[in-house]
């Protein structure tokens, strides 16, 4: 039996779940022949009459009065997400799950129905689980892929599960487009008054290919089960598992640690045979009478060094609640990446055990350990951003992320060593609006200015026209301290933006 899970609005629904304020309708846009048109939409847009292919302006007009959010489509990202959904489905209902276009999944559930109380129960379970992802599914089930595809999209809800052998009756009242044929074929058949599959099946079979192509017959045969159609299943993620049972369970941390270290050594050896390393390691503790507990670590570069991985994992394991005892420990290596071949031994010296494994580069180990305790986002590198606005000219990115870090900077001394998070309002006495600055008062203090260098004019980026142009001055207070102050030209207000501390 085949199940088609059609989720036409999932891309828009995913975006609609974003942060507040949430839009009333979401449109996925693509650019074709210089015009932005609708590539995907949500249920609200569909109800308002919007269809794929409409121009964005047309769609917005149909949705007038609502808060509409249109975003550019992301085909590679969406493909990855749909594939991830297929992997998720393959772990729940059937091992054979394929991706069907950009908005559907196909499941071969033959032999799996009885686990859910029959086909109806299986379809109900799929619908419930997919709805829990906050997307709207339309599910059809039939003996053939073609019939399942057709009823999922075109049949009323009560007739979307087709009894084996009744495919002909099930698809007969559906429009010709339900056979997955080109629009030209649909239009050609409509010209001669054939708009439903039932009348089409009554036509002499031999006369169809000459007028409408070979594909029409193939699609009819596939829908009725006269031609074979296979699902191209999504390959399961290449995970590597190491698992060990603890008979009777244990609540002793030391025993669990011994098991984890043993598993790490074996996992490292398996990775070495594959000449690979892992980027993420998940550890699952199955407990007696309790839900399993999972903890995970990530490393900044692929590693298979058991000692390094143990260092990161040890702090997590200490916090695991053993409950009535841990009876199985499973390690799952994720994000496998190829590593350069390393010599396994030399003159009898083995590197494959936990105690003798060669250590990774010190810095990578340091970054991993810091990120493990403080969080990945709190271990950062500084990157430069091509912007002349001081607050946007840099970014702090996680240390293990790749990205451009270099760029041109002004000579040392022209930028302060401390940039305030927000420019601090200041009262400034200046001889003229363009300087020189004579006195600066901020944060409750006031100081005469000994020296003033500037102005250095920094305008906003042209696409941020609402921002003000700024004239920056370097000024030295009586105490000798240097400040970086600016005047917002249009507002006429002064701010302190940094200091040389």
């Amino acid at each position: 039996m085949m199940v088609s899970v059609y989720i036409p609005w999932w891309r828009a629904e995913r975006i609609a779940r974003g942060p507040e304020p949430r839009p009333d309708a979401v449109l996925i846009a693509r650019t074709r022949r210089g015009q932005r048109e609708v590539a995907g939409l949500c249920g609200a847009g569909f109800m308002a009459g919007v269809r794929p292919g409409f121009s964005i302006a047309h769609a917005r007009a149909l949705l007038a009065g609502r808060r509409v959010h249109d975003v550019d489509e992301d085909p590679p990202g969406d493909a990855c997400r749909l594939k991830a959904m297929a992997r998720w489905a393959s772990g729940r209902w059937s091992p054979i799950v394929g991706v069907d276009g950009v908005d559907a999944l196909l499941l071969n559930v033959a032999g799996c129905e009885h686990l859910f109380g029959g086909l109806e129960g299986l379809v109900r379970d799929i619908e419930r689980a997919v709805r829990a992802l906050r997307v709207t599914p339309f599910i059809g089930a039939a003996r053939t892929v073609g019939a399942a595809w057709a009823v999922a999209r075109y049949a009323p809800r009560e007739s979307r599960v087709v009894t084996p052998g009744r495919e002909r009756e099930a698809i007969a009242p559906l429009p010709v487009a339900a056979l997955r044929v080109d629009d030209e074929v649909v239009a050609g058949l409509a010209e001669v008054g054939v708009e439903r599959i039932g009348p089409l099946l009554e036509l002499p079979r031999a006369s169809l290919p000459a007028r409408y192509g070979e594909e029409l017959l193939l699609r009819i045969d596939q829908a009725l089960g006269h031609a074979v159609e296979m699902i191209d299943p999504t390959r399961p993620r290449e995970d590597l598992l190491a698992s060990r049972e603890i008979p009777g369970g244990t609540t002793r941390l030391e025993s669990v640690e011994v098991v984890v270290r043993w598993l790490l050594t074996h996992l490292g050896a398996a990775l070495a045979r594959m000449e690979s390393g892992l980027r993420r390691l998940e550890c699952t503790f199955e407990r007696l009478g309790g839900a399993p507990i999972r903890c995970a670590i990530e490393v900044s570069r692929a590693s298979r060094d058991p000692r390094h991985l143990w260092r990161l994992l040890a702090t997590k394991i200490e916090r695991v609640h053993m409950g009535f005892g841990v009876e199985r420990v499973t390690l799952r290596a994720l994000g496998l990446a190829r590593l350069a071949h390393a010599q396994a031994s030399f003159a009898g010296e083995q590197y494959s055990t936990l105690d003798d494994a060669p250590f990774d580069a010190p810095l990578a180990a340091l970054v991993d350990t810091l990120a493990s305790r403080l969080g990945r986002e709190n271990v950062m590198r500084a990157g430069l951003v091509p912007s002349h606005r001081p607050e946007r000219a840099f970014s702090l990115v996680p240390a293990d992320s790749a990205g451009p870090l270099s760029g041109d900077t002004p000579p040392i001394g022209e930028r302060p060593s401390e940039l305030l998070t927000e420019p601090a309002p200041a009262e400034v006495v200046a001889l003229s609006p363009d300087g020189p600055v004579m006195r600066v008062a901020w944060r409750g203090g006031s100081a005469a200015i000994l020296c003033c260098v500037g102005p250095e004019r920094l305008g906003p980026e042209w696409w941020r026209s609402r921002e003000d142009t700024r004239d920056y001055f370097r000024v030295q207070e009586e105490s000798g301290r240097w400040l970086w102050v600016f005047r917002a030209l249009h507002a006429g207000a002064w701010f302190v933006h940094g200091r040389w501390s």
Binding site: P362, L363, A365, L366, V367, T369, L370, R373, L374, N378, V379, M380, R381, A382, L384, P390, A393, F394, L396, A399, L405, S406, T409, P410, P411, I412, G413, E414, R415, P416, S417, E418, L419, C451, R474, E477, E478, S479, G480, R481, W482, G498, R499, W500, S501
Partner: protein, 223 residues
């Protein structure tokens, strides 16, 4: 330079030669008392002395004495555009939320063997904390530069040297006055409270010029 300072500088050079190159590297020839494998504290009254610490590490990076700079605690994070490009690319920024986490991160970085200059926000660090870091620094190949508020000058500490950083009033460009408050390796010199002026924006490899201040208060280039 006064005669006493000359004598101490020569003693320092002799001691360095005897102890080997790593004890007092050439990159710190302008601050002979600042050595690797130790903890050094830097006091400032208004804000952490980011610039002075950045210049110290810049010189160390250029001289290949250090390979990494690790900034621990958001309070000491410098504006990245202020940093020398080589220092910026060798820098890690660790946002540790409290003194315990900062201490742990600094200890770990010093012991990591990454040849790192660890610049940490050391406000509210106790004597035990500085002892721990001193041991960590001794065991590794790095150096700990701790930024502390001036109000903590009276707090007991195991640091090898202590420095006071103030804005240099007489300098024409951006500059700081560095005063040596303590030196466990050379207490006699520290008792005289020698001072140096550090000018940023000078032409050169690392954009910094440093010269000592003699007792009369006038500046004189040292090298």
């Amino acid at each position: 330079m006064s005669q006493t300072q000359d004598i101490h500088a020569l003693r320092g050079l002799i001691r360095d030669r005897e102890a080997g190159a790593s004890a007092a590297p050439r990159w710190l020839s302008w601050l002979v008392e600042l050595r690797l494998g130790a903890v050094h504290e830097w006091f400032e009254s208004e804000a952490p002395p980011r610039a002075a610490l950045a210049h110290v590490t810049t010189r160390a990076i250029h001289a290949r004495a250090l390979e990494q700079v690790i900034w621990i605690g958001r309070e000491v994070f410098p504006y990245p555009l202020y940093l020398d490009p080589r220092v910026r690319s060798a820098s890690l920024f660790i946002d540790a939320p409290d003194p315990d986490a900062r201490l742990w991160a600094a200890d770990l970085a010093l012991r990591s063997g990454a040849r790192a200059g660890v610049i940490a926000d050391a406000s509210r660090f106790t004597l035990a904390c500085t002892r721990r870091l001193q041991l960590a620094a001794r065991s590794g190949e790095g150096v700990a530069l701790l930024a502390r508020p001036r109000a903590e000058e009276t707090v007991l500490s195991a640091a090898t040297t202590r420095w006071l950083v103030e804005p240099a009033r007489q300098s024409r460009g951006v500059g700081w006055m560095l005063t040596l408050l303590r030196n466990k390796d050379n207490p006699t010199l520290a008792a005289e409270r020698p001072r140096w002026v550090l000018h940023a924006g000078a032409r050169g490899d690392d954009g910094v010029r440093v010269h000592p201040v003699v007792a009369s208060g006038t500046d004189r280039a040292r090298a």
